[in-house]
């Protein structure tokens, strides 16, 4: 009894609140990045698909760079170079910008895969019905392609949520940074990391479950 009481003394209820607030910031920065990165990524994916030569010569290598350079390096580089080109960005804006581009680079390939998944004969059929290019895209290619690559997109989104922890290196107080602060103060790394892990789980689990539900509904 004595020892377990002792074990908890460093960690107060208020600290839980502090972590909760940080979790909300993780949710905010990843939500914004995933949403805008997805919009941008779909646009890039379409460009990769349509502009075969232009896309593979210019856009594809750029996206490859963003996909392959470790996120932490991108963050630090961007944070330090932004002021040089006259951008004064706080850690949040900087982190959101880098995460958005990173998400877009990942989503671009997913989106292109989705368009490619809709076979040419099917698209000919919709054009033969008098649909325009964009009607075919909106009513046929998008819904079918989306169902095909949705699991891959969920993977990207959950990955970005976890990777948003790296924004802590810029000093943005999201979940991981908050945990580090608490660990320094309380010297209770296991407990605090466990609580932080539980928060990450609580953020991703509903998304994953919701995705499962959607997939089940589509696969009838």
């Amino acid at each position: 009894m004595e020892s377990s009481l002792n074990f908890f003394t460093g960690f107060k209820v208020l600290d839980l609140l502090f972590l909760g607030e940080a979790a909300a910031r993780t949710l905010l920065i990843s939500g914004i990045s995933i949403a805008s990165g997805t919009v941008l990524g779909v646009l890039f994916g379409w460009l990769l698909y349509e502009g075969r030569i232009f896309g593979s010569l210019t856009l594809a290598p750029v996206l490859d760079v963003f996909r392959s350079v470790p996120l932490i390096i991108q963050l630090v580089l961007f944070y330090n170079f932004a002021p040089i080109i006259g951008l004064s960005l706080d850690p949040f804006a900087c982190g959101a910008a880098v995460l958005t581009i990173y998400t877009a680079a990942l989503v671009a390939n997913v989106a292109r895969g989705g368009i490619e998944a809709v076979a040419m004969p099917l698209r000919r059929a919709s054009r033969s019905l008098g649909m325009t290019y964009w009607q075919d895209m909106m009513y046929v290619v998008a819904p079918i392609g989306m169902r095909t690559v949705f699991p891959a997109w969920v993977g990207v989104a959950l990955g970005v949520m976890k990777d948003s922890a790296l924004v802590s290196v810029l000093g943005y107080i999201e979940l991981l940074k908050a945990s580090q602060i608490l660990i320094t103060r309380t010297q209770e790394p296991f407990l605090i990391l466990a609580v932080a892990g539980a928060f990450y789980f609580a953020l991703s689990f509903p998304v994953a479950r919701f995705a499962d539900r959607l997939e089940q509904r589509w696969s009838q």
Binding site: L122, R124, A125, R127, S128, G130
Partner: protein, 240 residues
């Protein structure tokens, strides 16, 4: 009326159509037969501009299909097309499959589109499958769904590209019956087919395509009973 004159089509070095001349009057059922690779599908694709052409002209009711100023999406409404592979939209029910283009292309209201769709599905014998997804339909049913979907645009012409050749033998009959029904109702049809029985019994004219040209065209009695060209005779001997 559909008029094709001096149509040439190449895929890179491959000269597929070498001067096709063809007139299809309103109300006529034309069957096109010929060996695999002779260019039958390509000819149909050129007629509704799913493929570009190299030279020649194609007109539908006097309108040049491949002219620069032509609104091809509007023109395609006149030309229903059914493909070898049935191509149902997998994410939509049978009713939604058929109702989609009336709604977004013809800009009809949701209710009107659904009424038309239900009517056309009834027409092809799928009145009890309105809410089924394509995955729950047989190949023959999906092909009839494709026919209903094309008919819902109220086309003046129907183009069939081997509508039955991807089907299991026992399902061919139901699709041919639907096509026969359309012919009896007076639909103008161009049917690329390997079904010689259908070509003989249903069509008004039969064209034999050989190596990118129309080798012989005439009423079925002539083509099947008294073919004029050796190539036609040889082909018919093989498929019979």
């Amino acid at each position: 009326m559909i008029e094709v004159s001096e149509l040439h089509k190449r895929f890179k070095d491959l000269h597929v159509l070498k001067g096709i001349n063809l007139v299809v009057e309103k109300g006529v059922v034309l069957s096109i037969v010929g060996a695999s690779g002779s260019g039958k599908s390509t000819l149909l694709y050129c007629i509704n501009a799913l493929e570009a052409i190299d030279s020649g002209t194609i007109t539908v009711d006097g309108e040049d299909v491949h002219a620069k100023g032509t609104d091809i999406n509007r023109l395609r409404r006149k030309l229903g097309m059914v493909f070898q592979q049935w191509n149902s939209f997998p994410h939509l029910t049978a009713l939604e499959n058929v109702a989609l283009s009336p709604r977004i292309v013809r800009k009809l209201s949701r209710a009107e589109s659904r009424d038309i769709a239900a009517k056309q599905l009834e027409h092809v014998g799928l009145g009890d499958k309105l809410n089924s997804y394509p995955s729950a339909l047989s190949g023959g049913q999906q092909q009839r769904l494709a026919i209903a979907r094309a008919l819902a645009m109220e086309p003046s012409y129907m183009l069939f590209d081997e509508a039955t050749s991807a089907l299991d033998p026992e399902l061919v009959g139901e699709v041919l019956d639907t096509m026969r029904l359309l012919a009896e109702e007076g639909m103008t049809m161009i049917c690329v087919t390997h079904e010689m029985g259908f070509a003989r019994d249903v069509s008004d004219r039969v064209a034999y395509v050989h190596d990118g040209t129309i080798e012989e065209i005439g009423p079925p009695e002539q083509i099947f009973g008294d073919p004029q060209s050796d190539n036609t005779r040889r082909f018919l001997a093989k498929v019979r």
